[in-house]
Structure formats: C-alpha cells, structure tokens
C-alpha cells in the first residue's frame, strides 16, 4: 500500500475530491499548510511598513491506497489540480506498511 501526499492550491480541493471520488477513492485526510516554493506571495503595506508574504496557503491531502490504484490517483489529482501556473504543487508517494481501521480493528487493504 502507498500513501499519496498531495500539496495543492486550496481552491482546487473540491475538484480534486470530485475526481478522486470518480475513481472510487472513498477516504482521505486534508490539512491546511503553507508552502514555500517558486511561487511568490503578494506584498502587503501597513502604514508604510512593507511585508512580503512569503508563504502561500496550500492544502495537503493524504490518501492511503492500494498499490494498484496509485497511478490512477496520481492522474486524477494531476488533472484536477492543474492550472498550468506556478505553484500548482507536488505529489509525493511513500510506502505504507500497515493500516488499521480503529472502529473494527481490520487491517490491510480492507481497512482503507
């Protein structure tokens, strides 16, 4: 199993969720993060004091999934989150060794 972590633009969250649902993904976990990267933030002025906003609000999605779904998930996210502009974000894939569903104690793929 894998964990697929995606950092995307916040306003794309709904689209990404929708296209993940289409390919049968039923669960995921979302967190708010700030991204530093190539994309630059805006400048705010406060009574003559200038602040470059360096962090950009991003959303982080974590999806635990079976190995055979990984490519589909990546594709679904890539398509839905793409705007072609800098700052669209990244997808990271890491190995998931074990998963347990707390309610039932099930483990492995059936716990997803």
């Amino acid at each position: 199993m894998k964990i697929i972590t995606a950092i995307i633009k916040p306003f794309k969250l709904d689209d990404v969720r929708a296209s993940l649902s289409e390919i049968g993904i039923q669960g995921l976990t979302v967190g708010e993060v700030k991204g530093f990267g190539r994309q630059k933030g805006h400048t705010e002025m406060y009574r003559g004091a200038e602040y470059q906003v360096e962090y950009i609000p991003k959303v982080k999605l974590e999806i635990a999934t079976d190995d055979d779904m990984v490519d589909q998930v990546i594709e679904a996210i890539t398509k839905a989150a793409n705007t072609g502009k800098i700052g669209d974000g990244k997808i990271f894939v890491t190995n998931l060794e074990h998963v347990i569903r707390i309610r039932t104690g099930e483990s492995g793929s059936t716990a997803l």
């Binding site: 705010e44 002025m45 406060y46 009574r47 003559g48 004091a49 602040y51």
Partner: protein, 429 residues
Amino acid sequence: MKIYNSLILALLCLSPVHVFAADGLDSGDTAWILTSTALVLFMTLPGLALFYGGLVRAKNVLSVLMQCFAITCMVTILWVIGGYSLAFSDGGSMNDWIGGTSNFFLANVTRDAVNGTIPDSVFSIFQMTFAIITPALIVGGFAERMRFSAMLVFSMLWFLLVYLPICHWVWGGGWLSQMGLLDFAGGTVVHITAGVGAIVAALVLGNRKGFLTVHMTPHNMTMTVTGAGMLWVGWFGFNAGSAVAANGDAGMAMLVTHISAATGAFTWMLVEWLKFGKPSALGIATGMVAGLGTITPASGFVGPMAALFIGFSAGIICFTATVFIKQRLRIDDSLDVFPVHGIGGMLGTLFAGVFVASQFGGAGLAEGMTIGSQLMVQVTGIVATAAWTGVVTYLILKLVGLFITLRVNDEEETQGLDIVSHEEVGYNL
C-alpha cells in the same frame, strides 16, 4: 414685582440656549453630558483597546487590552484622590501652573454642586474620561514590549506630571488659558501630549525586535475596524460634549467633527491608493483617526467648510508623517501615535487659530485678537505642550528605569506578552 417679572421674562427670551431654574441646572445639557461621558468612556473601552489590539500580533493582543483597562482604572482612582482637584480647582498663587488641593477626594463634588448648567459630578466624570484616554493612547508607542509593572508606574507618573499640569494650563485656568489658547476638546491637552509621550517612550524603549524586517502585520483587522467605528461614534461625545451644553455649539462641533473624520479617512485612502496601488482598510481607519484628532482642538470654533479642509490636510500630512517616521527615521512608534495624534493635534491647534475667524465661517476671534496674534498663542501652546511633555516623559522613563526594567527580555518578547505578563492567551479557537 412687575419689573421683576419683566426682567425674568426678558431673560427667558434672551437666553441663547435654554430656560433654566434658579439653581442653574439644565436637564437637557445634563442629559447630553451624561451621554457624552458614556461615549468618551466607550472610546477607550472597548474602542481604543480594540483599535490598538487588532494592530498587534496575536500573542500580544491581551496585553494591549489589559493596559488600556488598567490605565482606565488607575487614572480613575488618581482622579478621585487628587487629579480633578489639581486640574480644575483654584491653585491660588500657583494657579498659573497647577490647581489646588481643595477638591482632593472630590470634597466639594456634592450631590447638589452645580458647574455651569450641569451638576459638578457630571463635569468631573466627563473630564475624567479625557484623563483616562490620554495615557491609554500612549500604549501604542511602546506596544508589544513594555513590562506591565513598568507600564503602570510610568503611566501613573506621566498622568500626574504631564497630563494634570497641562490640563490645568489649558482648561483649568492656567497660563495658557489666560493667554487665550484655543483648544476646544484636547488638541494640546490630549493629542499632542499623547503623541509626544508615545514617541519619546518608543525611543527610550527602543524598537521591537525585528522591526521592519519580520512580519508584524495586524493580527485582526476586523477588530481594528470595529474599534475605529467605536472611536468615531465616541468622538461625538468627546468634541460635541466639550460644549458642555446641548446647543448650537455642540451641534456644530459634532457636524465638523464628522466631516473632518470622513474627509481625513477618504483622503488617506486616496493617497494610499495613488502611492501604494491599493486602498486599505487600515488606511481608511487611520485617516479617520487623523481627521478626528486634527479637528479636535478646532471643533467648537470652526464651520463645515473649514472642516473639509482640516480633514483633507490631516489625511495628507499625517499620512506623510507616518511613512516618514517609519521608513526614514525608522522609529518604532509601534501604532503610529505621534504622526497621527501628535502631528494631528499640532495641525489642528494651528488651524483653530485661523478658522475661528468669522470670515472663515468660524465662531469669531476673541475681542482684541487678530488671526496673527491668535496664531502666536496657538504656537506657544503647541511648543510649550510638546516641550514639557517631551522632557518630562523622558525623565520619568529614565527614573522608572532605575527601579524597574522597562522592557521584557528577548525571549519574552518572542513568546509574547500575553503569556509572559498575564499567563493568558487571546484565542483558543
């Protein structure tokens, strides 16, 4: 008897404002000053507290609210003990400089005592609210870094040694009032003293760690705008209440106050739009305070057209001063008290000397005064107030600093005053 009748009636008919009973009390005037008192207290709590509180970082928000609150309480107690007396009672041979002790513990403020057309109790509490807001304004100069205990001692001494004498000079029959200084509602007494006090405190305490390099954006602009709205409304009591009557003077003071606030705000917004590309909520709110502070000394003397001009000038000049002090002088008068209140107060005190003239739609110069001679008086008032405030504030801080550390240490500043000084946090959302 007939003659007496006629006399009374004549009096009734001539009285410019209102009929009142033999003891001089007028219920309408009293109603308005009771209301004004509530409005001016509202300016400090929660008005100014919110205006300032929103501008600091979240980790210091309670410290600012707390400072405004504690100053309110402390000044009240000092006012009762001796403040009212030193500001407003007759100082005898010292009367040029300071009032006397006859009203210590509000000795003569009895249930029946009358002051003009209102009860003396009402006059004394109305004036108390001015005494409260002035040191509270200074909080903006040393925000986010002063220790709470040092702040209390400093504010106490500052109130006794700066506010009370200057209040007596201008409004209590002291030398500036004898000279004919025009300061309707506190351009010198409140705004210049607060502005100069704040920047001196900022200089003595030093800039905040990371000033102009790390992010120090307002943590809650909605709080600041809320406070700004309250200040605007409360200022009606401040200026129109200073007529100490519900009459045409009060009405005109409210009208010009409002016009100057609106014009100052709108002008600041436009200047910002032109210079920085975007008009901001902080800008419009700051311009409003500038417009209000600037009209304050002039509010009882000038007409609507002058108010437009005064507000407009406030918007331009206070804006320029704010940017200059921050970007050029790099002084961390953290919430810009000097450029807004100090400069605004000076500007307004000058303008009062000009626009009071009847040819500008004002209430008219005092007998024997010309615009020139009035302006000389106004300049004297400004210089004396600023100089006394500057020197005494500096000395107080140096003195207090001998006994109490004025400023939190670096680590505490990083952690924030809310936890460090009050073991509390603003938000648990």
